[in-house]
Amino acid sequence: MKATEWLVPRAEGLYCAPGDFFIDPLVPVPRAVITHGHADHARPDHGAVLATEETLAIMRLRLGEDRAGATQQPLRYGEELTVGGVRLRLEPAGHVLGSAQAVMERAGTRAVVSGDYKRAPDPTCRAFAPVPCDLFVTEATFALPVFRHPDPLREIDKLLRDVKLFPDRTHVVGCYALGKCQRLIALLRQAGYDGPVWLHGALRPLCGLYERFGVALGDLRPATEAAKGELCGGIVLAPPGAIADRWARRLADPVVCLASGWMQVRQRAKSRGVELPLIISDHADWDALLTTCREVGAEDIWVTHGREDALIHALAGFGIRGRALRLIGYEEDETA
């Protein structure tokens, strides 16, 4: 039996028939495996939820104890479990803290659902581990050859040079609350920046969670408690929605920055009113998508969310069969 026969796309999401569970389902289901904590993957009100310890903690924090699954079952990376007729394990996806690929095996065939992933190094989460398989389900957020993410430390250097050039202004960096925010802080620390990083209120709980899981982030302070003038020359992190809104008005002559893979394209940066675009992404870029799809050696590749057409066309060039799943409900923006 081929993997494409027991892993099936349904309206609710990807369904593993022999295990009777969904992966990242879009609506409440009795049994769900969750790859990571982003809102479009980890939705509320499932029955039994299985995920990494970190992802479960993130779900409890974001959805509330009562909506993060009636029962929660943690699974360590690499630990194997038999669920109905499949063997299931989780492998690191390198996307955010706790992010995992769901690896399923049945009768000598293996399917891997990668969730979201990246191959670039990230000090805040375990690195992606490619798993050879017959069916690989991939994202395609940045599946165009114009998306080649630069070295993130070069982007951090760009930010720090700008801070030096405009010491009286406040650099406010828009970043998604889960993953991007903590990675930015870790990159700043890696680049030798040990000053305080000021946080918008919406970013604080997840930073606390990361630290509880052993990711050190250094001197973090709430932006609202900064004394007058203290933010001049400082770095403030805020959700993307806040950087160009009323919240940012309190800041001294802010330099609006946004950390996202979309910042590669000028028009996207312009339309967001960004003064300093930072190309830092938690998703695989074009090269990483192609490398990964070839590395896992799968005969079939299913493409979930993003630009399927370019990726499927390129895979065909390598003799790999690609298919667009078009699962509605995943979002392309902001977390990228």
Binding site: R249, Q264, G273, L276, R307, H313
Partner: protein, 531 residues
């Protein structure tokens, strides 16, 4: 090229002038010669390079990239140079350094057509995307820097601690890569001497006159002339050449070859100050007709015949090679009249002085002048020397009272820079009778005229009365009346309403006025566009 491309990138996203200046200063301080000189030329628009065909760039890219992927990408990015810069697949082990600005410029000038593809490929292989982008934009001549030449000169002046006009005065005698300029700015050499070059002289500008200022003026001391609604220009002819400059020192001669020819035909060494206008039936035409010419870098014969340009002369700066700027206005005026009388130049006439006994007579004249080509009056002190900049108490511009209309706010959009968190671009409209009763037709957009407090009010109002969103634009309830002031109304085929306003701004927020009492389009057309 790395420094230059980083500068370009940062400038492109930065709206604030002070920030742009700081970025330019930092660049000029850091970049070496002659790179920074060519960069300065690229910003000021004085870098003349043989333009590469866009097809060359497309061809070298599609030779390396799958055409389907290229099209999908181009479709998404929307700009050829940017697409190629991003998509360019580097061959293994590119060991070369990215080219310097000067290498790119000098190579583009010297390379033959057949050498070009190979050279460009090597450059792209050696460079990161932002550097590739800068190279490709330099090649195709599509570099939009997000800073003007004036701004770059201001940055240089700030480095040297001098007035930007000091650079302006010699600028047009210099050439890229401007090494003597940098030598002077950085104190290694004395100021370059423009000698016989047809350089630009910083113009003398006027202050707006408030009615309250009038009481302090003695009519005896003042000369009046019309303020024509064209663009202020400077005509310069020396042994070194002929130039037509805009008020901001841009060399716009190529767009108005008939003016250059007329000036050259005088055979005089002269510098003149005047207003560039289009002639219609022997009269100055409204600004919109000149706009047709300004939109073109080089005009067609048909354009020149339909919109013939001429210059109405205000002043003379150099007469037969002699600098007369130190003389009084009255004396210069005599010299100007004598010059016109003697030379009888083509395509030039004298801006007439308006005799008057007192200011109330002048005010009446000003109000009666309804011609669209007149913006108002100029008052010039008879004893004033021609001084660069805006010296106090010398020249006044006395604009006609603005026209106003009560319009209804229809759409709002966020502003840029400091205003990016506010809804500060407003589209407003007037009523007309539609098929299903009264409807609003947009007649213009305004993004200034209000105080900070009014802006906060408008921003809040927009947020609370949004009824639809289209990308960055919010449609609002048709419930807020704005009093819009404007300088003139013109017919326009580009707008749905058929009219375009000149300098529309928000004069007052009429929250007190019900929307249905705002003005109608028909009445507006009758009042302002009847002639």
């Amino acid at each position: 090229m790395r420094l230059f491309s980083a500068l370009l990138e940062r400038l492109a996203f930065t709206p604030a002038r002070t920030v742009k200046l700081a970025l330019l200063r930092a660049y000029f301080a850091e970049a070496p010669d002659p790179d920074r000189g060519y960069a300065l030329a690229a910003i000021a628009g004085t870098l003349v390079l043989p333009a590469a065909r866009r097809s060359l760039i497309r061809d070298i890219a599609t030779a390396r990239v799958d055409p389907v992927l290229f099209e999908l990408s181009y479709d998404y990015v929307g700009d050829l140079a940017e697409t190629v810069a991003l998509i360019w697949p580097v061959r293994e082990a590119a060991v070369e350094e990215p080219p310097s600005v000067s290498l790119v410029v000098e190579t583009l000038r010297a390379a033959t057509k057949s050498e070009m593809p190979g050279i460009v490929e090597r450059w792209l292989d050696a460079s990161a995307p932002s550097v590739r982008y800068a190279i490709l934009k330099l090649m195709t001549g599509g570099l939009r820097v997000g800073a003007s030449g004036r701004l770059a000169k201001t940055a240089l002046a700030e480095i040297a601690g001098i007035a930007p006009d000091e650079i302006e005065e010699i600028w047009h005698g210099l050439e890229p890569p401007y090494r003597p300029l940098f030598d002077w700015i950085e104190g290694r050499e004395s100021r370059p001497d423009p000698a016989g070059a047809p350089v630009f002289r910083p113009p003398m500008l006027a202050h707006p006159l408030e009615d309250a200022d009038l009481a302090a003026l003695d009519p005896e001391d003042w000369r009046a002339e019309w303020k024509w609604d064209g663009i202020r220009v400077q005509l310069v002819r020396t042994a070194g050449g002929v130039r037509l400059y805009s008020r901001t020192a841009e060399n716009i001669g190529a767009a108005f070859p008939e003016i250059l020819d007329a000036l050259d035909a005088t055979g005089e060494a002269v510098a003149l100050d005047g207003e560039l206008l289009v002639l219609r039936d022997g009269e100055a035409a409204p600004f919109a007709e000149l706009q047709q010419r300004l939109n073109r870098k080089t005009p067609t014969g048909a354009m020149m015949a339909r919109f013939p340009a001429f210059v109405r002369l205000y002043d003379i700066l150099f007469d037969n090679g002699e600098d007369v700027r130190g003389l009084a206005f009255d004396v210069r005026r005599k010299r100007l009249e004598a010059w016109v009388e003697r030379v009888r130049p083509e395509r030039m006439d004298l801006s007439r002085l308006i005799p008057f006994a007192d200011f109330s007579e002048l005010a009446a004249l000003r109000e009666a002048a309804r011609a669209a080509s007149i913006e108002g009056l100029m008052l010039k002190r008879g004893a004033s020397a021609y001084l660069p900049g805006r010296p106090r108490g010398m020249w006044w511009k006395w604009k006609r009272a603005p026209l106003t209309v009560d319009a209804v706010l229809m759409y709002a959009q966020r502003g840029h820079g400091k205003r990016s968190s506010y809804y500060s671009d407003f589209t407003f409209g007037l009523w007309r009778e539609g098929e299903d009763g009264p409807e609003l037709v947009p007649i213009g957009k305004a993004y200034f005229g209000f105080t900070d407090e009014e802006l906060r009010f408008l921003d809040r109002w927009v947020r609370h009365h949004t009824i639809g969103r289209f990308g960055p634009v919010r449609e609002v309830e048709k419930a807020l009346v704005l009093e819009i002031a404007f300088d003139a109304a013109q017919r326009s085929t580009r707008h749905k309403s058929g009219i375009a306003l000149r300098f529309p701004r928000i004069a007052r927020i009429r929250a007190d006025k019900p929307a249905h009492e705002a003005d109608g389009l028909d009445a507006f057309v009758k009042a302002y566009l009847a002639h």
